[in-house]
Every structure is written in structure tokens, then in C-alpha cells.
């Protein structure tokens, strides 16, 4: 499946990797809920690492949509909260 790591790019990963990502994702969600910044940061880095190491980067001109989107690995707790907020960290497009 195609996975995008925000701020980094898109990768094609196999099901095994995808499964691993889901596990890490659950933990990351709990870390965010608990407000545990270092844990969140560690998990985001591990997710990005898993994709980078085991995935194949898509060509830049590829227009395929991603099946999963991972937040940036250097996202702070405050930024993470804003990212999922209504106002959002991502500005409205022009």
C-alpha cells in the first residue's frame, strides 16, 4: 500500500510493514491522549523509520493517492493537537 509521511513523501510498503504501522499508530494515539510528548515523538520517528527503511519511495511525479498518512516525525505535542484541531495546522489551500 502507498503511505505518505507528511513532510517527507510517499512510499510503497508491503502488508507486513502496514501491520507494524498500525500497532505503532495505536500506541502513538495513546501517547497523544496522555500528552506524553517524548513517547509520541519516539513513535512517530519509528513509524517514519519503518516506512523509510522497508518501503520504496514513489517517483516525485506520481499522482497516486495514499492509503495512509503519517504525521511528520518531528511533530511536537502542541503541533499534533493543532493538526487534528478544527482550525488545523494545515492552512486552507489557496
Amino acid at each position: 500500500m502507498i503511505v505518505r509521511v507528511l513532510g517527507e513523501g510517499q512510499f510503497e510498503v508491503d502488508d507486513e510493514v502496514a501491520k507494524g504501522l498500525n500497532d505503532l499508530d495505536d500506541q502513538a494515539e495513546r501517547a497523544l491522549e496522555a500528552g506524553d510528548e517524548s513517547q509520541l515523538s519516539e513513535l512517530l520517528v519509528r513509524m517514519a523509520e519503518a516506512v523509510r527503511t522497508n518501503g520504496t519511495r514513489l517517483p516525485e511525479a506520481d499522482l497516486s493517492p495514499s492509503e495512509a498518512i503519517i504525521p511528520p516525525e518531528d511533530l511536537s505535542l502542541e503541533e499534533a493537537r493543532r493538526l487534528f484541531d478544527d482550525d488545523g495546522l494545515i492552512p486552507d489551500l489557496p
Binding site: 513523501g9 494515539e29 511525479a61 499522482l63 498518512i69 503519517i70 511528520p72 488545523g88 494545515i90
Partner: protein, 242 residues
């Protein structure tokens, strides 16, 4: 609560889905989306320029602080040579304060550097995808019926829309960082001009004045000694006889 990945997907999709709803006609949707892509490319270029400007400002401040450090170091030596340990201590205390500022400026410059790199990479990817979208858009317009085109547009637009949201995020994060740095740089400027930290880059500080006084006194003493040795005891007598 859903995981972060699905929440991120939702956020990203909600950002560009508006672009797709904009026009009724598929051809129009494509043209409109393309227009927005070009606008975003301009935005990211501007974002890069802003980061570069902010970085230059920090670098200038760093250079000024470096110069102050060298000066304070020389002053501490001068003061100690003149037997004024109190002044030397003062100079070294200031030096240590400035060193801390310098270190944090250095870290901030590095962070801006990272933001700049990310923006450049994001611009490059967006640029490649926009180009791909442009040629795909012409193909879709030329070859497909309205109904078929709708499906094709959905795919292409989702792919590019994702990138647009991603680039938008990179621009926003760089902007936030730059603003934080600028606020900090202004705070350092303000501290130095208001005298709370003392303006180490100005020409004359109290330390300068005191050291200046010591220097001129020791120069006078030195010249006096030199004159005395030049004249010598014999010369002195001759001089007296004349």
C-alpha cells in the same frame, strides 16, 4: 478514538476536497485545481525566501555576538594585566552570558536550516506533481467523456491534493518557526538596546572607559620610564649644566 494515521488522512482530505467541489464541469475543475497548484507553488517559494531572510538576520546577530565575545576576552586580559581583577571578572561574566545567547542562536539557525531544506524538498515534489497533473489534465480533457473524466479527475486530484496539503503544512510549520525565531531575535535586540543586557556592540561601555583610563595611565608611565632611561644619569647632569 481513531489512530493518528486515519485522523491525519481526514484532515488532509478535508483540505483539498473543497477544490474538487468547486466546479460542475470536469474540465473546469481541472483548470481550477491547476490554478491553485500554481498559486501554492508561489507560496512555497515565498516561504523559502522568508526563511532565508530570517536566517540571515540570525547570522548577523551571531556575528555581532561573536565580535563582542572576542572584545570581552581581550578586555579581560587587559584588565588582568593592569591588575584589575574586578574588571576582568566583569568582562568574563558578560562573556559567559553572551556565550549562552550565542549557543541558542546557533541552535535556532540550525532549526531554520532544516525548515529551509524541507521547504525546498516540498517545492521540488509539488513542482514535479503539478507538471504531471498538467499533462494528465490535458489528456483527460481530450480523451474522455464527462462521466469517465470525473473518475480520472478524482484520482489525479486526490494525489495532487494530498501533496498540496503536505506542502501547505510545511509552509505553515516553517512560518511558525520563523516567527518564533524573529520574536527571540527581537527580544535580544531589545535587551541590548534597553541596556538590560548592555549594548556590547556599542563603541563605549563602562568597561571600555575604565580600561581606556588604565591603558592611557600605563602608557604615560611607560613613556616616562623610556624617557628616563634615554636620558640616563650622565645625560641628566649635562642637561642640568646647560
Amino acid at each position: 478514538m481513531a489512530g493518528l494515521m486515519s485522523r491525519a488522512s481526514l484532515v488532509v482530505k478535508s483540505k483539498f476536497s473543497k477544490l474538487l467541489d468547486h466546479a460542475e464541469d470536469p474540465g473546469e475543475t481541472l483548470d481550477y485545481s491547476y490554478e491553485k497548484q500554481l498559486e501554492l507553488l508561489q507560496n512555497v517559494k515565498r516561504g523559502i525566501a522568508d526563511v532565508v531572510t530570517a536566517k540571515k538576520r540570525l547570522e548577523l546577530q551571531e556575528t555581532q555576538l561573536q565580535q563582542s565575545l572576542v572584545k570581552l576576552d581581550a578586555q579581560a586580559r587587559e584588565a588582568l594585566a593592569a591588575g584589575r581583577e574586578d574588571l576582568a571578572r566583569q568582562a568574563l561574566e558578560r562573556k559567559s552570558g553572551l556565550q549562552q545567547q550565542l549557543q541558542s542562536l546557533d541552535e535556532q539557525t540550525k532549526q531554520l536550516e532544516q525548515q529551509q531544506e524541507k521547504l525546498i524538498a516540498s517545492e521540488k515534489t509539488l513542482s514535479a506533481k503539478v507538471e504531471a497533473f498538467r499533462s494528465q489534465k490535458e489528456t483527460i480533457k481530450a480523451q474522455y467523456s464527462a462521466a469517465e473524466a470525473q473518475v480520472r479527475i478524482g484520482e489525479a486530484a486526490t494525489g495532487i491534493g494530498e501533496q498540496m496539503a503536505d506542502t501547505g503544512l510545511a509552509i505553515q510549520r516553517a512560518k511558525d518557526k520563523t516567527e518564533q525565531m524573529q520574536a527571540r531575535a527581537s527580544a535580544i535586540d531589545e535587551l541590548t538596546t534597553s541596556g538590560a543586557l548592555e549594548d556590547f556592540t556599542s563603541d563605549q561601555t563602562q568597561l571600555d572607559r575604565e580600561l581606556g583610563a588604565i591603558a592611557s595611565k600605563s602608557q604615560v608611565d611607560q613613556e616616562l620610564e623610556q624617557l628616563k632611561s634615554e636620558l640616563g644619569p650622565g645625560e641628566k647632569q649635562k642637561e642640568l649644566k646647560q
